[in-house]
Amino acid sequence: MSSQQGRSKIESIVSIVLLIPLVISGVGIFFKQFHYDASRVDIAMAVSELPVAKAVGAEIDLASLLPAGFVAMTEAETFERDTLYVKIDGKADLYLQSGFRELSCQRFVSGDDEKLWAEIYLYDMGTARNAFAVYSIQRRATAVKLSLSRFSYKAESAVFFTTAKYYVEIIAAVESEKLHNAVLTVAQNIARLPHEQKGSLGELKFFPERGLIADSFKLQLTSVFGFEGLDNIFTAKYRFGAGTVTAFLSQRQSREEANEVAGNYYQFLIDNGATAKSAVNDNLAGKVLDFYDSIEIILVSGRFMLGVHEAYDQLSAEKVAIMLKEKVMEATDIGRTR
């Protein structure tokens, strides 16, 4: 009898333990249903924008990087893939197409002059390669090189640079030496932080130095030169003769893929009105096209697809294409095996 009572007690306790979470869940559901958010199922219902998370979990505490005399003006904010447009609207696509992960922002202000404020934009792009892509595409024509990192410059009152997987913008509200110095200090503090290095920019070494316009490198990740089938293309500008020539290079997974991409790009140009031309230089083992009075050259060397885009002088274009190919062959197995 006592063992039956003991079992019954245990059963009751177990039942209560099981029932308590069920009751809590039931009560929770009951109250939650009074706060139904139609905007979750009907996007037109969302009058206000998506909630923006605070940077509680941000990897870098931006406020801790401010120089003396400056204080945080606002709380740090983070924007993720689905909320990035809230901060930068139509420019969000550029980042989203380039591997964007998270944006951390914070404004800071001088302790004794509220007009002296600036904002830090720290874009986590996932890899150094992605960070370089958005940096290079937006690089200003009036850029003045800085020594913060390999890729860094200032343009009037703003500083732009990459450090590891981050693309950083620090934008001052007004022209002021004091504010500009503060912006530079914050930039240095961010650049000095230890960052994990991910993604290489190894292709840059394949661009020959002769005639290269300094800091003209760009990395375009998608739909390059208006062709959806062309991605991951590095470009650099060369000064040759009176004009400039844009050289491009893309490392593919295999020789076959390089040939395929080159063939598709060639066909895209032909389909859009380009006509094939003969090369002037016999050493140019590639395709030359006239595309509405500009010259396009497409070559393949091992796993590399390379060439020249929108040049206006065929001789200069061919010269740059040959130089680029020779540099690739020299720096890779292709060159060593010959």
């Binding site: 996007i43 219902m45 009058v47 924008e49 998506l50 901060k87 609207d89 696509d93 200003r140 934008i171």
Partner: protein, 333 residues
């Protein structure tokens, strides 16, 4: 043998427990039946009546639809342009309530040119009061990026307030749903309708900017700031939404500020090196014509911006701005 005792469980116990279990199951079923809503939650817009923005345009006068004033001073070029179109009195009547919709999209400093110039906004408001004898001037925008910060940091809030204009911040109760007749995207979509209540005239003010998605952001794109909801989905069909917005809003006139043009990295910019001084102010009753001319300031052509042709096809204006015989005037630098 009436009650079987196998050592720990009797028939009576079994029946009692089975009865309790059945009662619980019935109770749960009854509660579920009582609480079940076969219609599901009703979207709030279905409870509301759809709203339609009135037509705020004024009578057209041939040869006085568009003025292009060149010069470095925004106040001077705007004043001159509006005078040549017949004066602000042609557009604003005594006792009118005027809504100004500047581009206040970002919480960025005026120096970057990502938002409407605060001095220009203030000047338009002042003129509405001083010469148009407006009863009230209000300024609104559903800024995508924390409206209070946008109005404050862009300088527009302070400048407008000093000019005597009221700021209407976007609040949920100001939004009403609208459907654009023949529209593909603007269907049962919330717009900042409440701000237009009791408004007689509407003026749009926008800078000329490069735009990563649409190619350019000018007066037509500026109406994007009237949309509520998760409007970023319209970026997938940006040309259609801009054309539909231009069809939805019939402003009294628009002011396209090309004094400094954001040539690159738009729509946010980030450095004054993204700007080019073009010293051009356009005032027009036709926002399609204004933007068509504005495309030139970005070194584009109207055909580079597909939304212009779409808007023209929808009857929102003309891309052939020359057909309006725009008045062109040059101010001393």
């Amino acid at each position: 043998m009436g009650e079987q005792d196998n050592g720990n469980f009797r028939r009576r116990d079994f029946l009692a427990r089975a009865g309790k279990a059945a009662a619980c199951a019935c109770g749960a079923g009854a509660a579920a039946y009582w609480l079940y809503d076969s219609k599901g939650p009703e979207a709030a817009w279905q409870k509301q009546q759809l709203v339609t923005l009135p037509d705020f345009s004024v009578q057209e006068e041939p040869g006085r639809s568009m003025c292009i004033a060149t010069g470095p001073d925004r106040k001077q070029t705007f004043n001159k342009a509006i005078d040549l179109l017949g004066g602000i009195e042609r557009f604003i009547k005594s006792g009118d309530t005027v809504l100004i919709k500047p581009n206040v999209a970002f919480a960025t400093p005026p120096m970057l040119g990502a938002t409407a110039n605060p001095e220009l906004v203030a000047q338009v408001a002042r003129l509405c009061y001083s010469r148009g004898n407006a009863k009230r001037v209000i300024i609104t925008d559903n800024s995508i990026n924390d409206p209070a910060s946008c109005f404050q940091l862009s300088g527009i809030g302070k400048a407008a307030t000093e000019a005597g204009a009221g700021i209407v911040m976007p609040r949920p109760n100001l939004f009403g749903h609208t459907t654009l007749a023949g529209g593909k995207l603007i269907r049962n979509w919330p717009i900042l309708y409440g701000a237009f209540e009791k408004v007689d005239k509407v003026i749009g003010i926008a800078p000329v900017k490069d735009h990563h998605r649409s190619g350019a952001s000018m007066t037509m794109k500026n109406w994007y700031g009237l949309l509520g909801g998760r409007r970023n989905i319209f970026h997938q069909d940006i040309n259609t939404i801009i054309a539909e917005l231009a069809t939805m809003v019939r402003p009294t006139f628009v002011v396209l500020d090309g004094t400094e043009v954001m040539m690159t990295n738009g729509p946010t910019g980030g450095s004054v090196s993204d700007l080019r001084r073009a010293n051009t102010m356009i005032v027009s009753t036709d926002h399609v014509a204004a933007d068509s001319f504005g495309s030139k300031l970005l070194r584009l052509t109207p055909s580079d911006l597909p939304y212009l042709a779409k808007a023209q096809a929808a009857g929102a204006g003309t891309t052939d701005y020359k057909s309006l015989k725009p008045i062109i005037t040059e101010m001393a630098g």
